[in-house]
Amino acid sequence: MNENNPDSIQQAVLDKVRAGTVRRRPRWQFILRVAGTIVVISLLLVIAAFLISFILYSLNESGEQFLLGFGLRGIQVFLTLFPWLFGLVALGLIVLLEWLIRGFRFGYRIPLLNIFLGVVGVSIVLGIVISVTPLHTTLQGFAAKDQLPILGQPYKHVLDHHEDEGLSRGKVITVGANEFIIQHDDHDRDTDDGTFSIHVAPDASIVLPHVGDEVLVFGEPEQGYIDASNVLVLSPLLPVK
């Protein structure tokens, strides 16, 4: 029998086991590892969902989603202003999640694309759920008061005025015949705060907003005013004081 042969593989293994140089790992180590992986998966999923919800909140709150309806130039500006960093980090987390899930039997038995779509789907659904809660509005409030470290800057950028890209946002304070004035204040007291005069061409089919409306103006900045090619009245999602 092989076991009695000093050169045998079996004998060598048994010798090590009997000498105690090779030991069985306790069951709790494996349970802890699986539990740890599940915790990491859950955390990554929540972070990915949070990032997705922030993207949705940011597009909705800044009004940038409406740029898609402003023609080719609108799409170009939308792509420029899109929070790519958040999108890429979310994508990276989703890839990492897929890799972790494939460590489980049910994970590697499912084709890669199906897992990817599943993880993306769950992240988006969770992201939508988070985006309808008051979480982002609350965090936005903390950011405005400089009470939100790390995430404060991205939240402050949500309400930024992007005059150079042709996108202005503000509250209408006066309305004239073919013009109106908006005031922008994203509570950060920086250079994009102030009043802006918006000109609307007489032949343009743009309905002038009312005083007090929160508007998104798409148009190139001229000398001292903005020549509006599109004006969108937003619902007052955030109180602009």
Binding site: M1, N2, E3, I9, Q10, A12, V13, L14, K16, V17, R18, V22, R23, R24, R25, P26, R27, Q29, F30, R102, R105, Y108, R109, I110, P111, L112, L113, N114
Partner: protein
């Protein structure tokens, strides 16, 4: 009941309970299989390296036996450990990636598991396949070895390679096509 009549899973469960005799029995059963698997998968590998690898596989199996779920089959579990050990050896031997980006794992494919051919035919297939193994890339060679020589099912091979069951079918079909191209008499056999 004589322990030597027990199933692999029952022996593994007894080993989990601390019965070292079960380890001995499991090694008796799997040493020839793992040596055979290694010889074919790692074609041209020195015998002493292979023996050391199989010894390491048993040690790893013993160390990790608590992670084995006795409700599952034991052979795919130990073949998985062997697969990892052999792939490590191949990685040291060649700088080329063994399993690069695998698009077969990306989407689902229809599964058509072949019913194993009659015993006589099976033997003929093995003899023929053996001749062509050297012509195959390691990844294709491995799947042929697991299916034709180790007689694992698609599902078990999927558990060894950690791929979807449908990917096993695609890889096997691809390996058969390569074999048919390299072996002149292969068209006469139901490969």
């Amino acid at each position: 009941m004589d322990p030597s009549d027990s199933t692999d899973e029952a022996l593994a469960q007894r080993l989990q309970a601390g019965d070292e005799e079960s380890l001995s029995l499991l090694m008796q059963r799997f040493e020839p299989k793992l040596m055979r698997y290694g010889r074919r998968f790692l074609e041209g590998q020195r015998e002493d390296v292979l023996r050391q690898a199989v010894q390491d596989i048993f040690i790893s199996a013993y160390q990790n036996i608590e992670s084995f779920d006795p409700r599952q089959r034991f052979s795919p579990w130990i073949y998985r450990i062997a697969h990892n050990a052999f792939v490590d050896i191949l990685r040291r031997r060649t700088k080329q990636p063994l399993y690069g980006i695998d698009f077969d794992q990306l989407i689902s494919h229809p599964i058509h598991e072949d019913s194993f051919a009659a015993e006589k035919e099976q033997e003929e297939i093995r003899v023929l396949v053996e001749k062509g193994l050297g012509e195959l890339a390691p990844a294709q060679r491995e799947i042929i070895v697991l299916y034709y020589f180790e007689e694992l099912s698609y599902k078990e091979i999927a558990d060894v390679l950690h791929v979807p069951v449908s990917t096993v079918g695609v890889r096997l079909a691809r390996a058969r096509t390569t074999l048919k191209r390299t072996l002149p008499n292969s068209s006469e056999l139901p490969l």
